[in-house]
Amino acid sequence: MQFIADYMVALSQWIQTSTPLPTFALWLQKQWYSDGIAKTPYAIPVLQTIHTLAVAMIITAILMITLRVFMVAGKSRTLAQTLHRFAPWIWWCLLVCFVTGWLLAIGEPPRDMTNPAFWTKMVVVPIAALIALGIQTSMTKNIVSWEAAATHRGIVAQVVSVLFILLWLVIMALGRWIAYVPT
């Protein structure tokens, strides 16, 4: 765990000394829209609630697809039907997360803009979105192979699914640790 702490401290120091982000955060904090979000009663917890609920739907949608790949849930559906049911939730909720996440960052610039966990999350989320797009495209184009892999418990499909769900757990952890890492 020490290397994570070392990484966060090093990234925080780099953000503070080598980027314009601290100045930008202070400038942003003085803008009317940032002030508006910060001073509106319950705006931050309401945005955080919507953000959390959207993340919940993403992680559950991925869980349901993963469980179908493992043939432990959704067995009454084909993999194509499972994908059709849950994949749109991932994308729509990702959009909700994007909007609410940036509104939160605008409302609390010093908390987020100089935060190493926040910027790590901002790098990991687009990577996760690209991987999701890759998996979805692969499933859509090769649905017969994926269905066969699920039926015969293909190890590659299972490993890809588990690694992807772990990546989202890391994203959720980064989101929570924004509140705790040094800035």
Binding site: M1, A56, G74, M172, W177
Partner: protein, 166 residues
């Protein structure tokens, strides 16, 4: 009755002291708590949206229940354990925060709602398993999703109000 000595004793227990004094314990437990609650909400929402006729309308309710219920209960247990460990570290602060009480009561109401659904409405499942749920099931689904949304909101507000009661 003054419970303050009890809360102090809980906080000073080895577990309470460890969670409070470790730099990693509280944020790690909170991360586990959030992941668990997210899984509870997500799996409950899949069922609720089906009961409301808003998603998975062609799926049998019994199939969805089988797919989600184990995860709902497993994640709820994880949330309860991690939540208790968080509470132990700052018991007296949580016990002063009205949002904590609201959250606990709403979780209780959500449990009662679920119990009524599974013990009463579920008896006629054979008649509507693959089709449109009856009014009672829709009300249970609506109640459940609204209650869990408010529970998550209360949890977030606790994060903001806890400092006030330190």
């Amino acid at each position: 009755m003054d419970f303050q000595p009890l809360w102090d004793k809980i906080e000073l227990s080895p577990v309470g002291d460890f969670v409070a004094s470790s730099a990693w314990a509280f944020p790690t437990l909170e991360t586990i708590h959030v992941i668990a609650i997210a899984t509870v909400f997500g799996t409950v929402a899949i069922m609720d949206l089906r009961l409301l006729g808003l998603a998975s309308s062609t799926d049998r309710v019994t199939d969805l229940s089988r797919d989600t219920l184990t995860w709902t209960w497993g994640a709820f247990l994880l949330a309860a354990v991690s939540g208790t460990l968080l509470w132990v570290s700052k018991a007296h602060v949580y016990m002063r925060d009205p949002w904590f009480y609201i959250k606990m009561v709403l979780i209780g109401v959500a449990g009662i709602n679920m119990a009524i659904f599974h013990h009463v409405t579920w008896k006629t499942i054979g008649q509507w398993d693959g089709g449109r749920p009856p009014q009672a099931a829709k009300i249970a689904g609506l109640g459940s999703i609204v209650l869990w949304i408010v529970v998550v909101f209360c949890a977030r507000v606790i994060g903001f109000t806890l400092g006030v009661y330190e």
